[in-house]
Amino acid sequence: MRLQAASLVIVLSAVAAAQTPPLNKQPPGFDDFTQRVQQYMKLRKPLPNERTTKRQDQIVDRRLSIADAIREARPAAKQGDIFTPECTPEFLKVIRGTLQGSKAVNVRKTIRQGEPVMGVHLTVNGAYPEHLPRTTVPPTLLLHLPRLPDKLAYRIVDHDFVLQDTEARLVVDFIPGALP
């Protein structure tokens, strides 16, 4: 599996300059974030896609292999690389505006009803713990955030706002304490 990951890293580097189509309909103020997401997707592009199978062991192996390859492709990744200090205030403005605005009661209820995940220590490039549920991300919030490519999703973990690679189940980046 490690060998497979290493060979993927070589391919990753070779195609880092490849172009991915721009994401449309992005709200203003998130250009830097969108660019960094696209860079991440370029790194990820040569990785094999998950395939459908009845073999759960193959799904798990492939997921671990993809996660290993991503970690090796960005070994120095740290919190703030994608949610940079420049774009974080924009995210906080949207998150806190949604959680304190006119629809805040329903939005908070959505998070509560999703059985919020608490007490988890996140690390960039770390695995999103397998046994933990997903906290529902309020659609009102998603409406005002930059759209993400397939394979990436926003997550809420405790008070942190997370960018997750869904196939690799990897924490790509997060904003600590983003949710009041």
Partner: protein
């Protein structure tokens, strides 16, 4: 100690399988050419009650041969190892799988989004998807992540679905009398306008660990079936929403659609019919005399 635990487990499996003779009386019409399916939600515990409900489903399948089942999320609680998948899905439903029953899953908050790659769940690698059986369009949604992309997709799919039955299923109930979670009001604000605009007639959800059939809301029939493995005993509140509710044991639901008529029968873990009935597709012409 281990032997004792195994014995207790086996007893739990065996005792409820001695369902009384009057149990599981078929109320569904069994019309020729009808679309027949089962509905289960919040089942993936791997514990004896899930196995017992699966056993009732198998028995019912002999009287009412349904071709497929829809899953309303929380398909696999806790760990997602190959052993977990076996214990929480493949073993309990093996006899149904062997009988050719297909399972179509939607994702709940306890599910890993990578379940979409498991062929047993027929999601074809997508966390939201649609499929058609006879004159019925099904739309499986990921209600944990209703982003604009998914809502755009749903709108297009519904717009192209014509005048057939349109059934949506997902994890979080838009209307519920459950005391633990209640109605998902924010999700309702984004989904209900689409359901009304494009004429969705029936919605199935789980998440609340009870069975509830709601009075039609704005002309749409809502069912909650979140007790096919888990249960929150006595968790239903008395509200104006409920047509029939059951929170005393686990359950599953069976549906038959023939032309413009939908019939339903909810069955408990012990084989008792806890709800049944039928209704005509809203907007359909009255039946010919």
């Amino acid at each position: 100690m281990r032997k004792m635990r195994r014995l207790a487990f086996l007893l739990l499996l065996v005792i409820p399988s001695t369902a009384p003779a009057w149990a599981q009386e078929l109320t569904l019409p069994l019309k020729s050419g009808s679309v027949r399916f089962a509905v289960i939600g919040d089942m993936g515990t791997g514990e004896p009650p899930q196995y017992q409900v699966a056993q009732r489903m198998l028995e019912f399948h002999q009287k009412f041969p349904f071709n497929f089942a829809i899953m309303l999320g929380d398909n696999i609680y806790g760990g997602k190892t190959p052993a977990d998948l076996e214990k929480k899905f493949e073993i309990p439903y093996k006899p149904l799988l062997d009988a050719g029953v297909q399972f179509y899953a939607s994702l709940g908050n306890h599910d890993d989004t990578n379940e979409r790659f498991n062929k047993f769940f027929n999601m074809n690698g997508q966390s939201y998807y649609s499929f058609k059986k006879g004159n019925v369009h099904f739309f499986a949604l990921d209600s944990d992540y209703l982003d604009p992309k998914q809502l755009d997709w749903l709108e297009k799919e519904l717009a192209n679905a014509g005048t057939d039955w349109k059934i949506c299923f997902f994890h979080h109930p838009l209307y519920s009398s459950g005391a633990f979670h209640g109605s998902s009001t924010e999700l309702r604000t984004v989904l209900e306008p689409l359901f009304l605009k494009y004429g969705v007639q029936v919605v199935f959800a789980g998440h609340e660990h009870v069975y509830e059939r709601l009075k039609p809301q704005k002309g749409i029939y809502y069912f909650t079936e979140g007790a096919s493995g888990e249960l929150r005993y006595g968790n239903l509140r008395k509200t104006d929403l409920t047509a029939v509710g059951y929170d005393k044991d686990r359950s599953f639901l069976s549906i038959e659609i023939s032309g413009d008529d939908l019939s339903f029968q909810a069955i408990s873990r012990t084989g008792v019919t806890v709800d049944s009935g039928s209704f005509r597709r809203p907007g359909a012409a009255p039946p010919s005399p």
